[in-house]
């Protein structure tokens, strides 16, 4: 694992919903850094603000205050035109529901970010082959999503999030719609990508199992980061998983039940 400097800095991020008398503070001053090559997990109960956090980083919503710096640039202050340039090229996304276009073939789906940003296909050919090979989707590149299994769909979506060599991949519950086997397979692949090519990944999840693939996990609740777990150098994934479960139990018995 190569660790260089800070890739992403989140500084005192606040996001309020609602108007004057009825304000919900979804994020209440969240600060943390993501280092280059890190696989960071974010866990928290429902309503804790983890998706809001991800969306702020993803530039999908604007924070009320605070900022997000990607390689030193304040992306939360960008206007929509600059943001469009960022999305899909410097940030890759992985969604719980895959978000594949069902009238496009696997390959067309994977290449979509490149088309949108006007990148020449010839240059991406090798990259596509490499990704398809690694994610074991070479056989289904010409199939439509309806003809794929859930796991295959999510791996195609993963290839799409990686095709344009983004600085960071943001994954929102990527295993949420998958069965255990497919979920583990996907997480193995993501971990492999993180390890082999040093790709930085930020993943929001409920699932302690999926979270155990991360190198560091932030726990947030009521809009603030309140705990952090790091995977130790020699620690196995199973051991890390045990620690996560322990922490969740201490916090109040399961992810969805913390009041």
């Amino acid at each position: 694992m190569v660790r260089q400097g800070k890739l992403l800095e989140v500084k005192d991020l606040q996001k309020n919903y609602g108007k004057k008398n009825n304000i919900t503070k979804a994020l209440n001053g969240v600060s943390f850094d993501i280092l280059l090559g890190e696989f960071l997990g974010i866990m928290g109960p429902s309503g804790s603000g983890k998706t809001t956090l991800l969306n702020c980083i993803a530039t999908i919503i604007k924070p009320t205050s605070g900022c997000v710096l990607l390689k030193g640039e304040n992306i939360s202050a960008f206007d929509s035109k600059d943001l469009a340039e960022y999305r899909g090229s410097r940030i890759g996304y992985l969604f719980q529901d895959f978000a594949l276009l069902d009238n496009l073939t696997g390959q067309e789906n994977i290449l979509l970010p490149l088309s949108i940003h006007g990148v020449d296909f010839a240059k991406a050919r090798a990259k596509l082959d490499e990704l398809a090979d690694f994610l074991e989707i070479t056989d289904i590149l010409n199939k439509f999503p309806a003809q794929m299994s859930g796991g295959q769909k999510q791996r195609v979506a993963a290839a799409r999030s990686l095709i344009s060599d983004p600085d960071i991949v943001l994954a929102d519950e990527p295993t949420g719609a998958l069965d255990t086997r497919s979920a583990r397979n996907l997480m193995n692949k993501l971990e492999g990508i993180n390890r082999n090519s040093g790709r930085t990944i930020l993943m929001v999840t409920h699932d302690p199992n999926a979270a155990s693939f991360c190198s560091r996990i932030l726990f947030i609740q009521d809009g603030v980061v309140f705990h952090e777990l790091r995977r130790k150098q020699e620690e196995s994934r199973e051991e890390f998983y045990e620690r996560i479960l322990q922490l969740l139990a201490q916090l109040g018995g399961g992810s969805a039940n913390v009041f």
Binding site: K50, R87, G88, L101, D102, N103, L104, G118, F121
Partner: protein
């Protein structure tokens, strides 16, 4: 509570789905326009002197109405289906909250009724407005101010419009409500585009395109070369083959678009090219039949509109009174008529009063013993010359006796027509005294004939015998000139050689049709007295030029008509002729153009609603695109392209089929385009009309889709 919900939902339907509401309004307006035909100024005007024919036409209106009802039913059904699809999630929610299905369907009907009332108000308003405009335009085109305008609001039309519209609206809602009734809540809540991405085998699709093209080709060939075979039955074969060909072609084409998408790899990373293509493909392939149907409808509408427009062109002929000179012809005791026409009451209306006598030539003296009286005229030499002047092919047919009868038509060479006419008449020709014809010549500003005592002129009736130029008959003149040079006489009467005057200006002898003769001999007055047994006489006159300039032709004509009616004399006027022609033009073009535009509107609405349905069902895709970095205007550009292609595909095939159809109509003289000065303006106007209608729909769809994209906001789902 319930009623407020109904009211609010109905209001929302109108606001949110303008195309749906506009479709309903269009349907209402269409009903009103066809039903109010009887109240149109022109028709009211024509009723005064062509009431039988008009009544016959008006009796046809229910048929057109029912046909329109039938067509618009499908339109309404489609529009409602689209509207209900849009709201299926909402219905699912109602059911989840415990509303009973029966109640839901009832609510739908109530909402439909509410919307219908607004559609009826808007539609009738627009219908009345359009009917007024049509009425005024037609009176302006036709009447030059003579046809008085009156508000064409027709209570009967409104009544039947309401009945008809409510009937189809409720039939559609009941059918769709029944379907809704049988749906599961899950289906309603999670309605999605069919996930069928089955694009079939390439071979099969190529086969579809090939078979489709061949069928279309055969249909075109029949249309162009064999349309009138088997008593026109081939027309139906053509329609069937053409429709089937279009359907197969579209089916294969839609699916093969995918091949194109995957083949154009170098383009596949250019913007949203692949996405656009796939969206288009999905729209076409999954609904190829209805796309094909819209294409067929547009084809029909192009053909119908061309036909209707060409009928309007013949409006020109209404005023080109090339051959007709007189405005009125009065029958009756000649002295009494003369007295009446020169009376104080009539005098201001009468110009170029002329007394026309037409007699028939006697036979040889009856004493001859043969049964059949032999004619006084011997025109065998003229006949010979005319035969010699025939084109060689017909000359042979004629000489060999192959040619048995004559048909007199504008396609025949002049010599053949003359020969035919003379064969009919020359044995006992009609006779017109020179003085009568001179009166006519004077009226049109020509010199009198001044025939010699042994000279005659040949008269051919331009209403019945096609004559290229009213003042000249080149073939006849050539023959006469040649004979004159050689000192040869081509005709004799009573064994006496007769000279024939070279061609003279031909005009109609009376105002309308009371004299139905093909040809006559114009003879010097003494000869007329000598040769004719008995004669008919007519008083002809024209409305003074000055009066026409001041008041137009129609107004004084109507006044004269009223005076003459009260006098009790038999008379006829140019009005009848005019009315007859006007009637055919108006009735013909009105119904044909109406059907044409109805087809066009239906086709456009279907295309529009189909596109928007797809847009609605696949809106999520645009969200994904924006997550992947697509800019809003990039997506809008892609969407505009989709709209453009969706309209262009059926349009372009329809344009090809339509032009073949128009060509066929020209070839088989169903429509007639000659060197009309109005041809290009009218063709241009109607082409513009069609393009504007399609463009309006295209823009409306693009705007709705725009709105749909704008509505897509990323809403964080708080988990």
């Amino acid at each position: 509570m319930f009623s407020r919900l109904i009211y609010r939902n109905a209001k929302r339907s109108r606001k949110e789905n303008l195309i749906y509401f506009a479709t309903l309004v269009t349907a209402v307006a269409s009903f009103y326009i066809i039903l109010s035909l009887g109240k149109q100024n022109v028709i009211l005007f024509l009723k005064q002197f062509e009431s039988d024919a008009i009544d016959k036409l008006l009796a046809q209106i229910p048929i057109v109405y029912i046909f329109a009802l039938f067509l618009l039913f499908f339109l309404i059904l489609f529009a409602n289906q689209y509207q209900l699809n849009r709201r299926s999630k909402e219905f699912g929610l109602y059911l989840m909250l415990g509303m009973r299905k029966k109640r839901l369907v009832l609510q739908l009907l109530a909402e439909g009724f509410m919307t219908s009332i607004f559609a009826l108000i808007g539609g009738i308003f627009i219908g009345v407005f359009l009917a007024e405009i049509i009425s005024l335009t037609v009176s302006k085109l036709v009447g030059q101010g003579i046809i008085g305008h009156q508000l064409s609001l027709s209570v009967g039309a409104i009544f039947f419009t309401i009945i008809g519209f409510l009937f189809i609206q409720f039939s559609a809602l009941i059918i769709l409500g029944g379907r809704l009734f049988n749906r599961e809540i899950h289906q309603l809540l999670y309605e999605q585009m069919d996930n069928k991405q089955d694009m079939g085998h390439i071979k099969g699709n190529v086969l579809h395109i090939l078979v489709g093209s061949v069928l279309l080709g055969v249909a075109y060939w029949i249309a162009l070369y064999r349309l009138t075979d088997f008593a026109g039955l081939t027309l139906f074969v053509t329609l069937a083959l053409g429709s089937l060909g279009t359907i197969l072609f579209m089916r294969g084409f839609g699916k093969l678009l995918g091949l194109w998408a995957s083949m154009s790899e170098h383009k596949s990373t250019k913007g949203l090219h692949t996405f656009t293509l796939r969206q288009f493909q999905e729209n076409i392939a999954n609904r190829s039949t209805s796309v094909a149907v819209t294409s067929i409808l547009i084809t029909l509408s192009i053909i119908l509109i061309a036909n209707g427009a060409s009928t309007i062109l013949s409006l020109e002929n209404l005023y080109s009174r090339d051959a007709s000179v007189y405005d009125f012809t009065v029958d009756g005791d000649s002295q009494k008529v003369e007295q009446f026409l020169t009376s104080e009451k009539m005098e201001p209306y009468v110009e170029d009063l002329n007394f026309l006598k037409i007699g028939r030539m006697k036979h040889q003296d009856e004493q001859k013993e043969e049964d059949r009286p032999s004619p006084l005229v011997d025109w065998s030499k003229l006949r010979e010359q005319l035969i010699m002047a025939l084109p060689s092919e017909q000359k042979e047919q004629f000489l060999s006796g192959e040619m048995q009868g004559y048909s007199i038509s504008s396609e025949n060479p002049e010599a053949l027509n003359l020969l035919g006419v003379l064969e009919i008449d020359a044995a006992t020709p009609y006779l017109i005294p020179e003085s009568s014809y001179n009166g006519l010549l004077e009226a049109i500003g020509e010199k009198p004939l001044n025939l010699h005592s042994d000279e005659i002129a040949l008269y051919f009736n331009p209403d019945l015998v096609p004559i290229d130029q009213l003042d000249r008959m080149p073939v006849l003149d050539h023959i006469l000139k040649k004979a004159n040079k050689e000192g040869q006489s081509l005709m004799s009467i009573h064994d006496q050689a007769i000279d024939i005057r070279s061609s003279i200006p031909m005009r109609g002898l009376v105002a309308d049709r009371s004299v139905k003769i093909f040809s006559a001999f114009i003879v010097p007055d003494p000869m007329f007295e000598q040769l004719s047994e008995s004669y008919n006489s007519y008083w002809n006159f024209r409305i003074p030029q000055k009066m026409q300039e001041q008041q137009g032709l129609m107004k004084p004509m109507m006044e004269v008509r009223d005076i003459l009616k009260s006098s009790g004399f038999q008379f006829e006027s140019y009005l009848q002729n005019f009315g007859r022609q006007l009637f055919y033009v108006v009735a013909g073009s009105y119904t044909i153009l109406y059907m044409g535009f109805l087809f066009l509107i239906i086709a456009c609405t279907v295309l529009a609603l189909q596109f928007l349905t797809q847009m609605k069902q696949t809106g999520q895709r645009y969200l994904t695109l924006s997550m992947l970095g697509a800019k809003r205007n990039q997506m809008k550009k892609s969407m505009y392209k989709q709209v453009l292609w969706t309209f262009l595909l059926p349009m372009s095939l329809a344009c090809v089929s339509g032009s073949v159809g128009i060509r066929a109509m020209i070839l088989f003289v169903i429509i007639n385009f000659e060197d009309e000065p109005l041809l290009y303006p009218i063709a241009f106007t109607f082409a513009c009309f069609v393009i504007v209608v399609v463009a309006i729909y295209g823009v409306a769809v693009a705007r709705s889709a725009d709105h749909e994209i704008d509505k897509l906001r990323w809403k964080p789902n708080i988990d």
